[in-house]
Symmetry: C2
Subunit: 394 residues, 2 copies
Amino acid sequence: MKVLVLGGDGYLGWPTALHLSDRGHEVAVLDSGVRRGYDVELGVESLVPIRSLEERVAAWAEVSGTRIPVHHTDLLDADAVQQVLADLRPDAVVHYAEQRSAPYSMLDRAHAVHTQHNNVIGTLNLLYAIGAVDPDIHLVKLGTLGEYGTPDIDIEEGWLTVEHNGRSDRMLFPKRPGSFYHLSKVHDSHNIEFACRAWDLRATDLNQGVVYGHHTEQTARDERLATRFDYDAVFGTVLNRFTVQAVLGEPLTVYGSGRQTRGVIDIRDTVECIRLAVENPADRGEFRVFNQLTESFSVAELARLVAGTHPGGAEVVHLDNPRVEADEHHYRVVSTGLPALGLQPHLLADTLLDSLFDLVRRHTGRVDRSALLPTVQWRLPAHATAPAAEPPGL
Amino acid sequence: MKVLVLGGDGYLGWPTALHLSDRGHEVAVLDSGVRRGYDVELGVESLVPIRSLEERVAAWAEVSGTRIPVHHTDLLDADAVQQVLADLRPDAVVHYAEQRSAPYSMLDRAHAVHTQHNNVIGTLNLLYAIGAVDPDIHLVKLGTLGEYGTPDIDIEEGWLTVEHNGRSDRMLFPKRPGSFYHLSKVHDSHNIEFACRAWDLRATDLNQGVVYGHHTEQTARDERLATRFDYDAVFGTVLNRFTVQAVLGEPLTVYGSGRQTRGVIDIRDTVECIRLAVENPADRGEFRVFNQLTESFSVAELARLVAGTHPGGAEVVHLDNPRVEADEHHYRVVSTGLPALGLQPHLLADTLLDSLFDLVRRHTGRVDRSALLPTVQWRLPAHATAPAAEPPGL
């Protein structure tokens, strides 16, 4: 199939492009370069050096014999996006091209606005481009499990049959997102569901858990193919950050009690989930949602696992939680759609965390220790000491 | 109380400002003028001539002895909005400052993007301004019943206790909005709920039905105080449009079967609902939702009512429905919050539709008949003939 990967220069977009290319799909990538710009803005870098997108695709051509065309395009440029789709006529568009950090979105007003504008308007432009070029194009959109928050009921795959006063309806699962970033994905989901309903588009929304790991079968073939590895408190995902802290001899920083539970997934499973979604498209008019995770752990469990596996051990410290989130909560997430398509998960217990420790050791000289600690506060700074109100509506 | 009315130059914002002023509140208005710009863009005008905002407030000062300060400010200008709040320090902000037409949002990509950008980012700026200036300011936000769509269950007031697999949680009522405009309000609701939860703000979200009528107790005192009266197919609400069609001897244009049912409310009740919400603020941290309607009618019933009341009668015609919406559906909307605060509804059966006919008759010379017919199509133009897919997920 012909697949366009949006955000194809990112942590997951790049390995996804390689995985699809390796499995025989005709892949092109589109990226605005904004993710590398965030590094410059924040003064941090991927722990593992990464090549420019041009060097990456050249290396892949060398390694695989397959050329991946690159489009330097921003989804905010509606005409350009439509032109790329019209020229390429892909069967599927895999959409990673969003600002994906919750702390970044909570930095201040400007970053909240940037996140919602970039993500929501970019996706809106994409929906119109698909509608104009070919409504048969399958949109595979990356969402996040964080859209759901931590409701006191089981989390279904995007839809829920709601029973109320003796009647029932199949409705979008009610969301309780925990940052302006997570909200932007909720907004996207609503916009996309409407486009499927009104325009008869086809879309798969993948509500993904926290991704860990670095290598995939394809990126491991040549160091020039490496994807980024973020360890900083703004863009670094929790398990990756813990491995860096352990290797550096820094304490693993758990926010709050650490009893918050999160769905997680190995990067190798992420790219495989995308392949499965692309090769088994949603129907016309269907807004299909999968929860993309393989296991759930509490943050404290992840810290204990890293501390227990690291040869030198590691201290675990608890910081005041900068986020506003439930400390202890029910967490049971249904995830049957992707296994039904054939997903064979890599589980964390079987993963060689050793290989992650090795990776970090080779690059410790590149770590900025100050970037490990949270600087973004969810609460209002001036009013953080105001007495807590009653929880709304209880 | 000190109240700032955003969008205070609009159809409802202006009468709301007068009503609150008349009831002894210290009122200021803020408006960017964008609504009058839409008239210029679309080549239509309010049926009833309206004065400039400066003439309006001068007339109100003359009639009432009370001066309403005006701020020519756009919510997209975050610094200016924060400055207005800091200077004024209102107890409540009533937020009408959004693009409010579903057809306008469906004109094309640019109008969809304008609507979501204007509404969502404007409200985000406002939330940050309240957080920065004084989180005690009560946000009274206009939403729409159209956020809910027409689910096959009863529509509760914003929240729903969901029972699932033997557990339950109080969650935001799942939404199924029918246009990019309605979606923008759903996005707003999610953003505001989060701000209440994370920042301990206080907000009331008023999901309003279709408003009809023209005069309020205050606007009727002087013709210079008149609010706008839209009859065109883009901005005109259905009952107002039907009265114009009846007076002109044009057929009343019902979209589809007309069995679509909608909640409605008299403009005099709208302004009273706002007063009640302002004078009975939500608690800190509370995201309070009221459904702001007094009755429900099918579109065909409204047409029959107008045809039956109009002295010369009226023909009712059914057009292909340009919208994508359920033709026949369950519709039961809970609305107990505002009556509990003291709302005494004006019901449509008791309303002098005669006075609306009179109003229209005085201004028939100003009607552009071509503006009465729908030009905005919800479906994709090039692909409207594609075979209908199975309804998603059934």
